[in-house]
């Protein structure tokens, strides 16, 4: 009898505990939405919300990839430059006119983008795993490399999609809608669903979490640690490529500053979403929620008129910290 009494609160406690940790980012999002509604009535208009979510697509999709890398105990600082690099090469290919048919060009360019993204990710993965260099430094190095190459490709200028045919064909990929839902939003959710499937349902996903949780244990269990890690970087590269595919039709152009600091935003989205940087845990939907939060913070700031434009950075920083504190206290109180 005494045993049951002691046991049951423990079980309840741990159930709540798990739940709140996963729920916390969504609570933060809801609070932000309420705050935003007060700041500016336009904020909760469908148009505005669709806008904001649509443009969070790049960071959200990149951050989904980052969730894999981070939960396997890695880190990728090169994703921002990778966006610039992949998008530049893709636009250059479309400009090259190698294929006459615009549709064919577009499809080939998309395949090419994915291939380049995967290759860049592979390079990152191999340098960290086979080369055994701390991911922070390895990807800081490739960050320089990808951005440098982009600068060189663009000769310091911009690389702009020229063919109007391709452009008009490609435009709906960012600006199009399906049943009133902008295409990038659909892309976010498809990417999220795929990623969640891989991470939570497949053997590979299990291995990713094991490697991030304890590398030695994973190795003793016969898991090819280096391969698992490398593949997380390839997944990250593919996610970057997908983000590029959405990015190109939006701005139609890249330059040496494209994607600057996106790596920090992506990592922030991951952490705000509840994934710890030490690895072993990955929360795909939390990450996507984190990306929404970041974009909404910026949006509220822009829509409200109280904040001096000089202080926007400071307030964004403060909000991130407050959001994390709220999360922590939510989890602790439970």
């Amino acid at each position: 009898m005494a045993d049951t009494a002691a046991a049951s609160p423990k079980v309840r406690r741990s159930w709540k505990d798990v739940d709140l940790r996963a729920v916390a980012p969504f609570v933060a999002l809801a609070l932000l939405l309420i705050l935003g509604a007060f700041a500016n009535p336009n904020f909760i208009s469908i148009d505005n919300l669709l806008n904001v979510i649509t443009r969070s697509a790049f960071i959200a999709i990149i951050a989904v990839g980052a969730t894999f890398v981070i939960s396997a105990g890695g880190l990728d600082l090169s994703v921002g430059s990778m966006v610039a690099f992949v998008a530049s090469l893709t636009i250059m290919f479309m400009n090259s006119g190698a294929l006459a048919d615009p549709m064919m060009t577009l499809v080939a360019a998309m395949v090419l983008a994915l291939a380049i993204g995967a290759a860049c990710g592979l390079a990152n993965g191999l340098i960290t795993t086979v080369g055994r260099i701390e991911p922070f430094i390895a990807t800081l190095g490739t960050m320089g490399i990808y951005r440098g190459l982009t600068t060189w490709l663009s000769q310091g200028g911009a690389i702009t999609l020229r063919s109007p045919d391709v452009q008009s064909l490609y435009r709906p990929v960012y600006f199009g809608e399906i049943f009133g839902v902008p295409f990038p939003i659909i892309a976010i959710f498809i990417t999220g669903a795929l990623a969640a499937f891989v991470l939570y349902r497949t053997r590979y996903g299990r291995h990713v979490l094991a490697v991030g949780s304890n590398e030695d244990v994973a190795r003793y269990s016969g898991i090819p640690v280096n391969r698992v890690r490398t593949i997380t970087y390839v997944i990250q590269g593919l996610c970057v490529a997908v983000a590029c595919l959405l990015y190109i039709p939006r701005l139609g152009s890249t330059s040496a500053t494209t994607g600057l600091m996106w790596e920090l935003q992506a990592i922030t989205a991951v952490v705000v979403g509840g994934t710890a940087l030490r690895g072993g845990v990955g929360r795909i939907w939390g990450t996507i929620c984190g990306a929404f939060i970041l974009e909404i913070v910026g949006n509220i700031m822009l829509l409200s008129n109280f904040v001096s434009e000089y202080l926007i950075g400071a307030i964004q920083g403060a909000i991130i910290i407050i959001a994390m504190l709220v999360q922590r206290s939510l989890v602790r109180k439970s």
Partner: protein
């Protein structure tokens, strides 16, 4: 356990697994010297020896975790070379590590099936794995929800999970490296039954334990290692625990537990009143007297560790603490150490020692203040302290510049004891003081605890080994399900009475 999956044993002539002329060196130190050993199918072969004798090292070589410096391994008489533990595992040689090797963020079931997940099409079959895991743990006499994250389990529970994980691999030889060190009698019994089971199915078992009674019970053959050399291999029937102890230590171990004069009633130094550690221990009240040795018994998960951690400020706790009559409250260990209470954790690797730092730094970590001269830490004095600790606690180490992680398990425990004793505490709380300690060293540690009492220090010993509690304690408090359920002293300190209290079941029914 998994008879269909067990590769059939081929011949009965040659041993399944055999080592010939095996040697292993770490740096200049030769840890194993010319070992010859064979394990037959359907046989439990126990390996015993002092801490640092080389048992774990030998097992690691046999299971592919380490490469031998010299010598050869054979399976069914055929020479083999293991490229790594996975390779050995593929050939049916599996090892239950002395240290716990599990991924803390994954669940029990995920850990048990790690690297060989069951699948349904593309998808991992979590339901089947949870079911399998639950069963595997139950077979070992445990009851752990398969979907709990391993990071939340106690050491004992983790040990069960680790054993369950290994037994699920198709195996021909299972190596247990001190599997029972952190188990209580109930789980130990269950494990011994499981071992008897797999032996009956034709599996060879290598079994390491410092509990000689257990060895006597389960083993068919006993091999004794001393200083990396094989001293003897004998049928277990020929050896009594005393003989084993003599072979191990090289001398007679006459009396394990020191004599202690009965202590006259003394003043209370620590009073715990209605103390709760939310979620783990409720309404605990007890008193500790000066010069007393107070035991805490209970099953795994009884909440003893958490109660002690709550008292010294490692966990949030509610209730009153009085130190020599004065109410105190510790918000962290820093405060409790200052008040003269030292807590020695049961988890020496995770919470006791910095495995990647050397012995000297570990020894003085908690008491660095004593070594500060001017602004600097005086390294010469640290070295002197290390020399003293090595001799006082009999820490067996080839070199003094080893990292703590390179010591054998038992010697790590001694180093940890030495480290906390550097603080010269008035009250010592030792959680599982002899976990993984050889019999000779145990004797030393018991003597040491008795000496503490003699010096007027008070000691709380939390232990899952009842004979040890009975042997050294003045009183024993028994916990069950987070509550103190009773106290035994004097002639009531018997295993039977304690088990009755700890399980809430009459003897005989327990199991």
């Amino acid at each position: 356990m998994n008879p269909d999956a067990t590769p059939a044993s081929v011949s009965s002539g040659s041993p399944v697994l055999q080592a010939i002329g095996l040697s292993k060196s770490f740096g200049p130190v030769e840890v194993l010297k010319d070992i010859a050993l064979g394990v037959n199918a359907g046989e439990v072969h126990a390996i015993i020896g002092e801490n640092g004798a080389g048992k774990s090292t030998l097992m690691k070589v046999l299971s592919g975790h380490l490469q031998p410096t010299r010598g050869e391994l054979r399976i069914d008489g055929e020479p083999v070379h293991f490229s790594g533990p996975v390779d050995a595992e593929r050939r049916g040689i599996v090892l239950v590590h002395q240290e716990i090797l599990l991924a803390p963020d994954l669940t029990v079931a995920q850990n048990i099936y790690l690297g060989r997940e069951l699948r349904k099409g593309l998808v991992v079959d979590d339901r089947a794995m949870n079911e399998g895991a639950r069963q595997a743990v139950r077979d070992l006499g445990g009851d752990i929800a398969p979907d709990v994250v391993v990071g939340r389990l106690s050491i004992a529970q983790r040990q069960l999970v680790q054993i369950a994980r290994v037994l699920l691999v198709p195996h021909r030889v299972v190596i247990f490296d001190e599997p029972t060190a952190s188990l209580t009698p109930v789980e130990t019994d269950a494990l011994l039954k499981v071992i008897a089971d797999i032996r009956a199915k034709g599996t060879g078992v290598l079994y390491i334990s410092h509990r000689l009674q257990e060895v006597k019970e389960i083993a068919d053959k006993v091999t004794v290692l001393r200083d990396g050399k094989l001293v003897a291999t004998r049928p277990a029937s020929e050896l009594e625990p005393v003989d084993m102890a003599r072979l191990m230590v090289g001398r007679d171990v006459a009396k394990l537990y020191p004599d202690r004069e009965a202590v006259a009633a003394r003043e209370t130094v620590l009073e715990v009143d209605d103390f709760s550690v939310p979620g783990y221990a409720q309404h605990a009240s007890f008193q500790l007297k000066k010069g007393e040795i107070l035991g805490f018994a209970g099953l795994v998960g009884a909440g003893r560790t958490e109660l002690m951690e709550g008292i010294v400020g490692l966990r949030p706790g509610r209730g009153a603490l009085r130190l020599a009559g004065k109410p105190v409250h510790f918000s962290d260990v820093h405060a409790s150490l200052k008040a003269g209470i030292a807590y020695i954790s049961e988890d020496r690797k995770g919470k006791g020692l910095l495995l990647a730092k050397d012995l000297r730094e570990n020894l003085t970590l908690a008491s660095l203040g004593k070594f500060v001269r001017g602004l600097q830490v005086d390294r010469a004095r640290e070295r002197a302290a290390l020399d003293q600790a090595i001799s006082e606690f009999d820490i067996r180490t080839g070199r003094k510049d080893l990292l703590a992680g390179q010591l054998s398990g038992g010697n790590q425990q001694k180093l940890l004891l030495a480290k906390m004793m550097m603080l010269d505490p008035g009250i010592v709380i030792i959680d599982e003081p002899t976990r993984g300690i050889d019999i000779g060293t145990k004797e030393q540690i018991y003597k040491f605890i008795a000496k503490l009492a003699q010096e007027g220090r008070s000691t709380i010993v939390v232990s899952s080994e009842m004979p040890e509690l009975i042997g050294i304690c003045d009183r024993i408090i028994v916990m069950r399900g987070g509550r103190i359920v009773g106290e035994v002293a004097g002639e009531h300190m018997t295993e039977d009475e304690i088990v009755v209290l700890a399980t809430g079941v009459k003897t005989g029914e327990a199991a």
